[in-house]
Point group: D2
């Protein structure tokens, strides 16, 4: 089974600029993370954008949708900032057919050591292989359907709406 990973940025890939003390994007750490996880899956990684999900616009989301639809793989994982991950899922949900699309992200940058990124990545690629076609979010070891999920910003975790 092969999986396509679409990289959009988010906390996952943020780095610390030691010259000015700010967080920034350089390049994705997905290859490095999959190697660290001793992944032996057939995976294609496409870096579509490298942005904070708070600045994501409808145009960005249309680009993500287009990339999902164009994927030859049945299983698609999208790395995404957590702040608007649920919005992107809601936009993709009604439009994706015959594919299992799983959005995931991290609360702490992979580079900062105490990251939940490795756990979430292992979770997302696994759900992408086994869940029925549809659009999902994989966070906190759980999966959520696109039409019933939100980020609880006080707790920093995902939950069902009802």
């Amino acid at each position: 089974m092969s999986i396509k990973i679409i990289v959009t940025g988010g906390t996952f890939d943020k780095e610390y600029n030691e010259l000015n003390g700010e967080l920034f994007f350089r390049k994705t750490h997905l290859q490095e993370m999959l190697a660290l996880g001793r992944s032996r899956m057939k995976i294609r990684i496409k870096t579509l954008m490298m942005i904070d999900s708070l600045v994501m616009t409808d145009a960005h989301r249309r680009k993500i949708l287009k990339e999902c639809l164009a994927a030859g793989e049945h299983s698609v994982v999208i790395t995404h900032g957590t702040d608007t991950m649920a919005e992107t899922a809601k936009m993709l949900g009604p439009k994706v057919r015959n594919k299992t699309v799983v959005l995931t992200g991290a609360m702490v940058p992979y580079r900062f050591g105490s990251s939940d990124g490795m756990f979430n990545l292992g979770s997302a690629v696994s759900f992408a292989q086994t869940l029925p076609p549809g659009v999902y979010i994989a966070m906190n070891g759980r999966y959520f359907s696109w039409y019933n999920v939100r980020k609880n910003k006080t707790k920093g975790e995902f939950e069902e709406v009802k």
Copy 2:
């Protein structure tokens, strides 16, 4: 959905004894790993044994089987040394009914930083929630059925037998 995690030891939980330079077991790191992964699942952890899988006997495997059968949860994850993980899966496979049991482990101890443990744990709990009843191994981002898996000891990865 709730998950039971049965801890048996393995590389996952090995630590470095700085007084004599040897690897040893103290206690499981599962709680710490789940916290790091910001897991919000309902999970019960049972430390059944803390051993290297090379010293695992039939008696140990019967104990693991008994614990699987007794679990009230539908989803069960077993942490296990990789060397004889396939043997334990083969023993459990024909005897477990109506449950999804996923064995997982690590090539490098969690404590040593460069571990594949977080990735595998995220993968195992996800497969345990979505695969149909049966016994599986989750390693390298993939899952394998109990009757068709072996560890390739030269490559340090799992593969199908045929």
Copy 3:
């Protein structure tokens, strides 16, 4: 020999707030860092302030000076943000007598794993034990006298002025 460590904040002690993605101060990591370094020195730690050195005022520096002068120990280490470390050293230099005072800091937060903090801390406590009385900066494995040091903000390293 006993050492006093005066904590003022700086990159050393910054943490990542996973709820809003910003860097902030909680409490000092000095105890944890010394424990990780298996330090067996007699050390007293005093958290004087927890601020970014860019917001440090003359009033803050007078407070640091007062704490230095009041210290019963001959060896004093000050953890400090790197941006204005040289300014603080210049203010302390002419006023400290009969003590070896060493300022140090980090380019990357200790919490972010890839830190230079452990190296600099090991360096600073060592220079504090062996250099003659005076005020110094310990960074990049080197020491600099208070009257001849500046941070090269382009390179992110310390250098002599002439």
Copy 4:
């Protein structure tokens, strides 16, 4: 000021072989450690041997002595296993003139994350720049003269003999 670092192996440089679960030596991590510490010193690194200090013989020690005496630098750091570090110091002590030689090591391999190696390395290069000529051990944030030091193997720390 320039420093010569003589690498002899020890826990410092041990790695975990994930295929057989054993610790082994590959190559030294000194360059990587100095880079992580943002070291800007003039340093020459010479890998003389890569062995556990428990297997170190008189012949090995003579080789280390020869390398110390041949060094053009006034400051020399030797990375060494902790178990027989004091023995090597005692052999070098009476024979080294006009140089400051500092032996250091680690209780936990650098690769295992929780290492004291970065702290000890920062400490050793600093003592090597400031202590008067002689042979010393730098461990636990302290320095010890060659004729008055032993490893307390129960506590895993260095101490004065009397």
